[in-house]
């Protein structure tokens, strides 16, 4: 969404050849930083955001007026301590928070790009963000960190730039989107494109936007971010502000009301076409395939120290998929640690206040940093 608020933006002049074959140049990357870069420039952490995240990691997000998406983990004295580290996060290309995306205008025609925006991949996202390192004059990051799609970007980044990070922390992610992952994303995309307002992606030319479709996409996805146990404990069969069921299709149950609310607030901050593009990028992600099916080869050039984290109740990117990355790294004798955190909060655990997770992250980072 283009807004009136001034976003920090880097205009990348260097042409970037995308996986789809097209080349983009003079494109914007919107970013945010926290903490300060030290003299040696060896305290920088690049955080990659997930599907619906943005550059506003912590503190107040000026667009939504809510806390940044990773406020539990990032900030002064937190797991990723901004008193100590210089944190950079940028909006992915294809996104809608200022980086080059489908809501931008074609410079030649001044028309909103919509589905004329090229199909992008995780690889393209990472290659675009690498320009930030040159911008800040950082040769080697202290760490690359991200959960979910952010974790996929972490894996792709260290594969593309093996010498550019000292530590690598992929969280609750996978090296290859499963059929189930693709299926859920397709459900979301179908909800959007089935909304008449979508209009083949040309909705921005009218005043109508496919909010209903986007809200349904968000509702379906939101279920995959939680666990059955978590949902049951929080909502069970509790009714929404009523004594009894109403024999109607109104939101009788609290869970219905909750999902509707999640859908409605999401459409205020997210662009439907961006949702299509970013979910597509996730579906196309298969790091092993880039190396003829041998995932280990993706990491054989790097000497970075890996720390992989999964959550017991995450069924979107379950422990085994995270462990497959550990196995690929062990096969080449890489320095890799792995921990599965006990949590009922599902895939969303990495965004929430899960002390074992936050402690692990903090301990790993701080101990690795003192080994500098």
């Amino acid at each position: 969404m283009n807004t009136e608020i001034n976003l920090k933006t880097l205009i990348v002049k260097k042409p970037l050849k995308l996986d789809c074959g097209k080349t983009i140049n003079n494109f914007p990357i919107a970013y945010e930083t926290y903490g300060s870069l030290n003299k040696n420039k060896d305290n920088a952490i690049l955080i990659f955001h997930a599907l619906t995240g943005d550059q506003f990691v912590t503190g107040l997000n000026p667009i939504t007026n809510k806390d940044g998406w990773w406020s539990y983990a990032v900030g002064p004295d937190k797991a990723i301590d901004t008193n100590k580290y210089f944190v950079i996060c940028s909006n992915v290309i294809g996104g809608c928070m200022g980086s080059f995306g489908p809501s931008h205008k074609d410079p030649n025609t001044q028309e909103i790009l919509g589905t004329n925006f090229p199909v992008i991949t995780i690889n393209d996202m990472v290659n675009a963000q690498n320009n930030l390192l040159d911008h800040f004059g950082i040769e080697k990051l202290f760490s690359v960190v991200g959960g979910s799609m952010g974790g996929m970007q972490v894996l792709q980044f260290i594969s593309n730039f093996p010498g550019k990070a000292k530590t690598v922390i992929p969280i609750a992610c996978t090296s290859s989107h499963s059929a189930q992952n693709i299926a859920f994303n397709e459900l979301g995309r179908q909800a959007i494109t089935a909304d008449n307002n979508w209009n083949e992606g040309n909705y921005n030319t009218k005043d109508t936007v496919p909010n209903k479709g986007l809200a349904v996409a968000r509702m379906a996805a939101h279920i995959t971010y939680l666990s059955k146990k978590g949902l049951q404990e929080k909502f069970g069969r509790k009714l929404q502000e009523r004594e009894d069921i109403k024999f109607s299709f109104d939101a009788d149950f609290q869970i219905e009301s909750y999902l509707r609310y999640q859908g409605s607030v999401f459409v205020d901050r997210f662009d439907a076409n961006s949702y299509l593009y970013i979910t597509r990028a996730m579906d196309y992600f298969d790091l092993g395939k880039q190396f003829k099916g041998n995932l280990s080869d993706a990491f054989k050039e790097t000497e970075a120290k890996f720390f992989i984290i999964s959550f017991t109740s995450d069924w979107l990117y379950p422990t085994q998929e995270n462990k497959d990355i550990v196995i690929a790294l062990n096969a080449i004798g890489a320095d890799v640690g792995f921990v599965e955190i006990e949590s009922d909060k599902g895939h969303d655990s990495f965004l929430l206040d899960v002390p074992d997770f936050l402690n692990s992250l903090k301990n790993f980072l701080d101990k690795s940093y003192t080994e500098n």
């Binding site: 196995i327 062990n330 792995f338 921990v339 402690n359 301990n363 690795s368 003192t370």
Partner: protein, 198 residues
């Protein structure tokens, strides 16, 4: 640090690559890393203990030795350590084979069920022995396959593994085990420490 760990540390030369299987809270790993510049990895099944290792800045993988050793390539470590856990596996033979596949050498320590106090306990009391090394009751012990020093030596020989060093530990005393004193050591040591190779 307990005496057993000092003995194990003395068996390992500086600058080696070592895997500690069942590394617990990482005490031995930390010692080896700090004092012998060992490139050390741990494998540990308990989530709490994994957290303790991470807090010490150690590289640890949460996992189960019976399943997760298979991901390490052949001879990817100079030494693999297994301290007092062999008896707790469903299939100790499989684990020993895995240790010797993954490591050039393995250091295995076992609580000796032939120790005189254990024999005496069973003989006089007629109940399952409880000692400092084996503190649990029969119904809640994690130990499934107890053996004696003699059993272990016989097993290693029957599989044609090489024994580089056999040590008997009794509180503070460490002594060498050889063919002629095996019976005595099997009676007076509460722990056996073996350096073996396939």
């Amino acid at each position: 640090m307990k005496n057993e760990f000092k003995v194990i540390a003395d068996l390992i030369e500086k600058d080696k690559r070592v895997l500690d299987v069942g590394c617990a809270d990482g005490t031995l790993m930390k010692f080896l890393k700090d004092n012998k510049n060992i490139n050390i990895r741990g494998l540990e099944i308990s989530k709490d203990k994994v957290q303790k290792c991470i807090a010490k800045g150690l590289t640890v993988i949460e996992g189960n030795a019976e399943k997760d050793l298979s991901q390490f390539p052949d001879k990817s470590f100079d030494y693999v350590i297994l301290s007092q856990t062999l008896q707790a596996f469903l299939n100790p033979e499989l684990v020993i084979n895995e240790l010797l596949r993954v490591g050039n050498k393995a250091i295995v320590t076992i609580p000796n069920f032939g120790y005189w106090k254990i024999r005496l306990h069973l003989l006089t009391k007629g109940t399952m022995p409880i000692t400092k090394t084996l503190p649990d009751e029969w119904y809640n012990t994690p130990n499934l396959h107890m053996c004696t020093i003699k059993d272990f030596v016989h097993f290693v020989k029957s599989r044609n593994f090489k024994i580089f060093k056999s040590l008997a530990l009794n509180s503070e005393n460490v002594s060498l085990i050889n063919n002629s004193n095996l019976g005595i050591k099997n009676l007076f040591a509460d722990l056996g420490i073996f350096l073996i190779e396939k």
